[in-house]
């Protein structure tokens, strides 16, 4: 029976709601040095120091990840969140870095805002999908997953536009990347056990769930036991063990940050700068949302 219900996507909502804000002035490449335990528990985007922007993103992603709406058209969508963020940026008198106007580093552009919203939502959903694939029954029936195109792209990776036409540069981009990540191709298909290390190796973010990269149309889909056995991915009665929870505790995040002292110093400086933009009354609220890695000690932020 199909019926209307008030049933949120619990695992996606848990992922989204537990994350803390991470204002920063770093590039994507610099942020890739951030320990994975911190990265997956934070709402951030390269060079975004505006905590208010991150807070709106977080609030709306929480709602979108739940999948619940009170009435038709009431669930936020990419366009409505983008509109809200543009209005917020105007109210903050946001200015992109000189010479970067209209580029992907300009927060006012559709391209950048879509990237932030889509990546954050896909992370929450990807985590939720990954968690629900870990039950005993799910692993018995679907012990493997296939990496394949699930959404079309105007210019897929490995292609470019030349004179208005799509030109192939490396149509096997994903197969090459899969093999470099330690994956095996079975009858032309990229398939691996659900908790194989290839998934983390494949991911730009070092995470075992979707998305594996920015704006990709590729993702994971379940492969049934019989098919996986037929293709030789697993043995007939082979069992795949479930993965641990996947979300780092605050203590694990702090320990992970200690392994990256340079980026930790930089983040502390970013926090100070971000906090100085707030009134004293708002500092408590900001500290409350700042990712549990630091606490206030006088005028200092020290590791929690």
């Amino acid at each position: 029976m199909i019926s209307a219900a008030q049933k949120p996507f619990a695992e996606a909502l848990r992922f989204a709601s537990e994350r803390k804000l991470l204002p920063n002035d770093m590039s994507s490449a610099e942020l890739s040095e951030l320990p994975v335990q911190v990265r997956q528990g934070a709402v951030f985007s390269a060079g975004v120091m505006e905590t208010e922007v991150l807070q709106v993103v977080k609030n709306r992603i929480d709602t979108m990840a739940s999948g619940l709406s009170q009435a038709p058209g009431q669930l936020p969508n990419r366009a409505s969140v983008r509109t809200e963020l543009k209005e917020l940026l105007d109210s903050l008198d946001y200015q992109p870095a000189a010479g970067r106007e209209g580029t992907i580093s300009d927060l006012r552009t559709d391209g950048r805002l879509n990237l932030i919203i889509d990546t954050q939502l896909r992370m929450a959903h990807g985590f939720g999908q990954w968690r629900q694939a870990q039950t005993e029954g799910a692993l018995l029936l679907f012990p493997c997953a296939e990496f394949r195109r699930i959404s079309p792209r105007r210019v897929p990776r490995g292609y470019r536009i030349k004179a208005g036409a799509l030109v192939a540069e490396n149509p096997r981009y994903w197969e090459d990347r899969w093999v470099r990540a330690g994956g095996t191709i079975y009858s032309g298909r990229m398939i691996a056990p659900v908790n194989d290390p290839v998934w983390e190796n494949l991911s730009r973010f070092g995470l075992p769930y979707d998305p594996v990269d920015f704006n990709t149309g590729y993702g994971r889909r379940s492969v049934g036991r019989a098919e996986a056995v037929r293709l030789g991915v697993i043995q007939k009665r082979e069992r795949v063990a479930p993965a641990p929870d996947g979300l780092a505790t605050p203590a694990e995040q702090v320990a992970a940050m200690d392994t990256a002292p340079a980026i930790k110093r930089r983040l502390k400086d970013n926090f100070r700068a971000s906090m100085s933009a707030f009134s004293l009354g708002l500092r408590g609220a900001l500290l409350d949302v700042v990712h549990g890695l630091f606490k206030a000690a006088g005028d200092e932020l020290v590791p929690e």
């Binding site: 619940l68 038709p72 629900q132 039950t135 029954g137 018995l140």
Partner: protein, 193 residues
């Protein structure tokens, strides 16, 4: 609201292989497996919809991919439930949408405005509102006219929108049930024999 599809395995729906698997695994694990199979079948359906071109021929917004990614599954000793995010309800049942915090609704009618809001295009200074006030139609929003050339219509502004139901938005319960049972039975063979 979200849309829930509940499937409870009954004696009638179970083949001997599935019953044997159920005896071996217990109701909770069996319904986890059935839930996983339902999820897989629903996502295959949404994947097919995602690859269909949209009516305006505009760049796709990934509606079906988001619906697919947001679909969840829960199970108990006695049933498996697949839950699909709220926007599927409007697709599936259709119905009238009325403005909540505004006086009218603007819906896109051009590839230029597809996936955008009228508010953000107005803020960018790209649009002009032309009042019409004819029945349900409040007016139109167009691009700014250039050198005497009338702008392109981007949005129709209306008091309400009634959308038709799309029963194919989700697979039928029968289709899902069969897909789930086939998947369980096929894997039961691989596990038991």
């Amino acid at each position: 609201m979200s849309a829930s599809i509940n499937i409870r395995l009954t004696e009638n729906g179970a083949t001997p292989a599935i019953r044997k698997l159920g005896e071996l695994l217990g109701g909770r694990v069996l319904h986890q497996a059935i839930g996983a199979a339902m999820l897989s079948a629903v996502q295959e359906h949404f994947d097919r919809r995602e690859h269909e071109p949209n009516k305006l021929g505009a760049p796709k917004t990934g509606f079906w991919a988001k619906i697919s990614a947001g679909t969840s599954v829960t199970s108990s000793e006695t049933e498996a439930v697949v839950t699909i995010p709220a926007p599927i309800l409007q697709k599936l049942y259709g119905g009238t949408i009325r403005p909540v915090n505004a006086k009218a609704l603007a819906f896109p009618v051009s590839p230029l405005s597809y996936g955008k809001t009228a508010r953000e295009m107005r803020a960018d200074g790209q649009t002009k509102f032309i009042p019409l006030n004819r029945g349900n139609v409040v007016g139109i929003i167009t691009t700014i006219e250039q050198k005497g050339v009338v702008g392109e219509v981007l949005f129709l502004v209306v008091r309400q929108v009634t959308q038709a139901a799309d029963p194919s938005a989700v697979p039928s319960v029968e289709t899902l049930m069969k897909a789930a049972m086939d998947a369980v039975e096929e894997s039961a063979d691989a596990l038991l024999n």
